[in-house]
Point group: C2
Chain length 671, copies 2
């Protein structure tokens, strides 16, 4: 999955949005969007009336003597997806897109979002709102906020980095950024605001955990001791850190089995900040919640985290944090000299390397995931020609197939099911209302994944059931070569992904093509589908044995088609001719590529051999599972689609014909 | 050239030193190094008695109430090579190696240097000095300096980064870093200190400049206007910035045709800080030094820079600097809010892209440089077998051949002439006293370059005149494949070198081999041989048309041999099948590789074709020059060494033999 905001890195979205062509508005007439330049302004029915909400918010702003108030689209844990009760920016603006920042002053209200969302914003916002397609929020603030003016923000919705950036710019221009602990949107949202989730928080069954929470805590405690700065505590803010550490799960966040929480632990105590009523007595027992020794988890209420950290930080302590997932709301509580700062917390870095059991679990989930995807591809092959399938119903069926797999716990992100030109749009997902029919005349891209108790999956396949154009075949094959060349690379231990991701692009670059998104991201065991800090971006940590990453080059022809071929790969030790510590990838996604789109003449003998070996692996791993499940049609399809590819070998062929001609000549001559 | 400190980036040296195996001490007996553990200590004759120097320095330290004084190995311009009068660390310690930092307290004197220099330090230092092979200077300072103690340093010998790093660490532990404007070593060095150079500073002839200094100043002034922060002035600290801007040269620094200087210019004035007496009246006239208008260069004495900047910075101004080459001594003069900081100054970034005339000049210098290198290789081929050549005499001869080329102005760095196992040593250069004989039984690596009025060159060739081992051929061929694969890469405009340098390593990685230095660096027009910010490191800027970079993969077998193949390449626009702004490299170094070391069976048809095209280019560009100069033996050698390489084509061959066998069989059968 290539588009969504990966972890805490909004720069990636920006990169995507800036380099990407502006998406075409599909079937939108002028009546679908607002027109604020007429009198009276034209407001479409899809727009939300925000007049009352803004009036109420401005009362709050005025009471605090602020000149402006910033409303980001994050939650207090820098989550990739956010719960409904955290969708403050969507509620105040009416605009529901996943990326955008709002600013409200006494006289104006403004939204910044990227090109993917401009049309949607014009459909959903009334004329209280300015839409900023370009330009910098701070530059705008400097024109709207007088010198000496105060700009309010909720510190729990600001990363440390964004606070530093706003603060430096505003301070340099004599405006002041003011941390307001009570969120002003929440105050005016009132009873309309969706409730904070309260489903049970449960412990994973032993079969699905890599190691006990006690072992994990001990491991991090020894890292604390080894660390030069001698931290006395570790503070975890990202939701998957706490979920991983205690082997606990719930469903507070869409697609992510997490629950709102923080964790603070030292050598002598462990504090889990959470809504205690959500844990059963068995789970409390599992956590040793009734004692206060070093292996007892003391439960404190989620709302106590601020006071508790403040109290702890008043002592002679040093608190180890990962700055990427810590909000300014937490950061400002701890005196600078009491912080041990890393980009990623020790839990985040430890979690990135899967132990052998976690590896086996993730592999197993990929076998079942392949069954679901293959069932879908077989079904499409039969049903697309009749014209009865659309992007949305297709996505629903795929979700259904995944849901029928053992240990399934829903999709790991919103399925990208995109036909024809829609596959070239960044962040496209079909809706019940707006979607395109699948056709044998078009390419179809499906990027999807599942949450299973044993693993999280993510795979993209692009197919064509008719006659692709030569350019479509070339583009597909070059994307495939990129996938292959990175997948079969041998590289030294501790190489950063950034240093090798160009191998996935070279075949495209050769002819002047490219793609404008990242090449891959880490993935968890029933955790995040985009699990930092593994991947191929500059902010990712170095590759190590036991990490899992996606490998997903693509190519997008604006207004025509899109290709992406995504697999999940495990980082393994490589065997090299000369001794050394080298790594390689082992692909664990197990679905064949579309033969109809491969131009074998572009593949080198080594690339061809690699694909054929991969196909053999698919047969060995998925074949028996299909047979066991009596999915005989799917088994036959798999055999057919994993037949070894053969090169045309033009040179050898011409020599053979030379041979034939010669033999004939000789026969003629000698006869 | 791969080893030397590249520009201002000491981390590269550290990288090199840390990842490299410890060099073998060549023919050193225990009598050659000091032994401070005996009583009395054993001091070799090569060591310098530093007792008096240290006593005098400690008087200064005591007078200022300091607990310690730090002595780095840099100059006030963060130069790669430093002049004799700047070799303070060498004078106070006795140790003359190019990398190392000394710290003196009232009771101790300590030197930190990397593994390349440990033996040398033990030979050159007396027992006043501790040699620190490992460990951190700050950690040591914390044990030697009491809480509240003052640590002195010369702010003109500290980069901003190193100041920030020391300052943060010391402050966090309640020690204070104190900037001492008068260098304490200089005070005690006194009249013994070599004089500051006073050779003429001259203007380049018009034939050798890419554009006039007026055009360059105008260009930077328009960049100032376009810049959002609206800088009012640009301040240049690196010596090559001022040399480039005014098209002036001298010879203050070994291998670099620079002169001690700073430049400060605004829209309305230009100030050049320099020893005015070194400029002739013609040069003064060339600079319009007798007026004060916006295109007049006002000369101020070099020593006035501090006062002049301080005075300018007191106004309502914003000064644009490149932090990489600005010392803390300059930085501390300017209030933070009056700085516009980039990693590299606009001059540094502009200089990186050569205009068409500069490109033509650099290309021309490479043709003549190839003549010198080819003369040397031909001479070696004839003279090595008799055993009459050694590394040092060889290097001298190569320097002589270069010196005979038109527009020659000496070597661009100390020639690395390394036979057999010496080629595996980082930073090896032979001396008159210590060198190895060249032999037909060993590989020989020569990394050298010239300064010419039209360009700076840098090339490495590795050769073997006898029978190389299979492993030597494989290593050489894999290094060559790396050079080829990076050289023939097509990549999008603005790609950073870091993203593509792995293409130079892949063929080595494939079998578990690698090299532990950078893959290339920028190069100037009669300027630095290592010209930042172009190259393949993470701190380099993105590739752009008109840049020149070296491409220099290598392989080093400790104790046995070393391979490096280095070419200079120009970044050009690529023609791609589909339209787009893509770049490629065009190699401008023109010396054939050693056929004796190439295993053609490892090369793909594309790689082979690339080499053969390159050989054709060498013939076309260097051949006529050799003929014109009546270097007929060299011409014949060139023809022979640029014969197209042919593949063994095993598959085709086997089909041909199949054909033969079949024909024979048929003949037999039909007969």
């Amino acid at each position: 999955m290539a588009w969504a905001r990966w972890g805490c890195c909004p720069w990636l979205v920006l990169l995507c949005a800036c380099t990407w062509g502006r998406p075409k508005a599909a079937n939108l007439t002028r009546e679908d969007v607002r027109n604020c330049s007429t009198s009276p302004p034209y407001i479409p029915v899809t727009a939300v009336n925000t007049t009352e909400r803004l009036t109420a918010l401005r009362q709050q702003i005025q009471m605090l003597n602020l000149s402006a108030y910033i409303i980001p689209d994050t939650d207090a844990h820098m989550s990739e997806y956010i719960g409904d009760h955290d969708k403050r920016r969507a509620w105040i603006t009416g605009f529901t897109g996943s990326a955008g920042t709002a600013v409200v002053t006494m006289g104006k209200a403004a939204l910044w979002t990227d090109s993917r969302y401009w049309t949607q914003a014009e459909r959903q916002m009334d004329c209280n709102w300015e839409l900023h397609r370009e330009g910098n929020i701070v530059t705008w603030l400097l024109t709207e906020v007088p010198v000496g003016g105060l700009v309010g923000f909720d510190p729990f919705l600001f990363s440390i980095d964004s606070w530093e950036s706003y603060n430096a710019d505003l301070q340099a221009s004599d405006r002041q950024l003011v941390s307001i602990a009570d969120n002003l949107v929440d105050l005016v949202w009132g009873s309309e605001r969706p409730a904070v989730p309260s489903q049970p928080i449960y412990a994973l069954q032993e079969a699905f955990i890599g190691s006990t929470w006690q072992d994990k805590v001990s491991g991090i405690r020894s890292q604390m001791q080894q660390r030069r700065e001698a931290p006395t505590a570790v503070l975890l803010s990202a939701l998957d850190e706490t979920a991983w550490l205690f082997n606990l799960r719930s469903s507070d966040i869409p697609y992510n089995p997490f629950f709102y929480s923080y964790t603070l632990f030292t050598d002598s105590f462990i504090r889990l900040f959470v809504n205690k009523s959500r844990l059963s007595s068995e789970t409390l027992q599992y956590l040793n919640a009734d004692c206060t020794l070093h292996m007892c988890v003391q439960l404190e209420d989620y709302s106590q985290v601020r006071d508790s950290i403040k109290a702890y930080a008043s002592g002679d302590v040093r608190i180890w944090i990962g700055t990427s997932y810590t909000t300014y709301g937490i950061y400002e509580l701890i005196p600078k000299e009491k912080l041990v700062e890393d980009t990623y917390s020790p839990v985040m870095v430890t979690k990135a390397v899967k132990n052998s059991k976690e590896q086996a679990l993730l592999r197993a989930s990929h076998v079942r995931d392949a069954v679901a995807v293959i069932r879908y591809l077989v079904w499409l092959e039969k049903n697309v020609p009749s014209g009865a399938v659309d992007e949305f119903s297709g996505a629903e069926l795929l979700d259904k197939f995944r849901g029928e797999e053992e240990f399934s716990s829903g999709p790991s992100f919103e399925t990208i099911s995109a036909s024809g030109l829609n596959a070239a749009l960044a962040h496209y997902s079909p809706t019940k209302e707006l979607h395109r029919k699948l056709s044998s005349d078009e390419m179809y891209l499906v990027d999807s994944g599942g949450q299973y108790w044993d693993g999280t999956t993510d795979i993209t396949r692009t197919v064509h059931w008719g006659t692709p154009s030569a350019f479509q075949k070339e583009a597909y094959t070059r994307v495939l070569i990129g996938n292959i060349d990175l997948s079969r690379l041998v590289f030294p231990a501790a190489t950063s992904g950034r240093m090798v991701e160009a191998f996935a692009r070279k075949a495209l670059w050769d002819v002047g093509l490219n793609y404008y998104h990242g090449t891959g991201h880490g993935i968890g065991n029933f955790l995040c589908v985009h699990e930092w800090p593994v991947g191929f971006q500059s902010s990712n940590i170095a590759m190590a044995k036991g990490m899992f990453t996606s490998i997903e080059p693509g190519y997008y022809q604006d207004g025509e088609f899109g290709v992406r071929i995504e697999d999940i790969a495990l980082v393994v030790e490589a065997e090299t001719k000369y001794p050394g510590t080298y790594l390689a990838f082992e692909v664990v996604s197990l679905v064949p590529y579309d033969r109809n789109l491969i131009d074998v003449s572009l593949l080198s003998p080594e690339q061809l051999q690699y694909v054929n070996r991969y196909y053999q692996t698919i047969r060995e791993k998925v074949g028996p599972e299909l047979q066991r499940r009596q999915l005989l049609e799917e088994f036959a399809w798999l055999q057919q689609h994993t037949e070894p590819l053969s090169a045309r070998a033009p040179r050898a062929a011409s020599l053979v014909s030379l041979l034939a001609v010669s033999v004939l000549a000789i026969l003629g001559w000698s006869a």
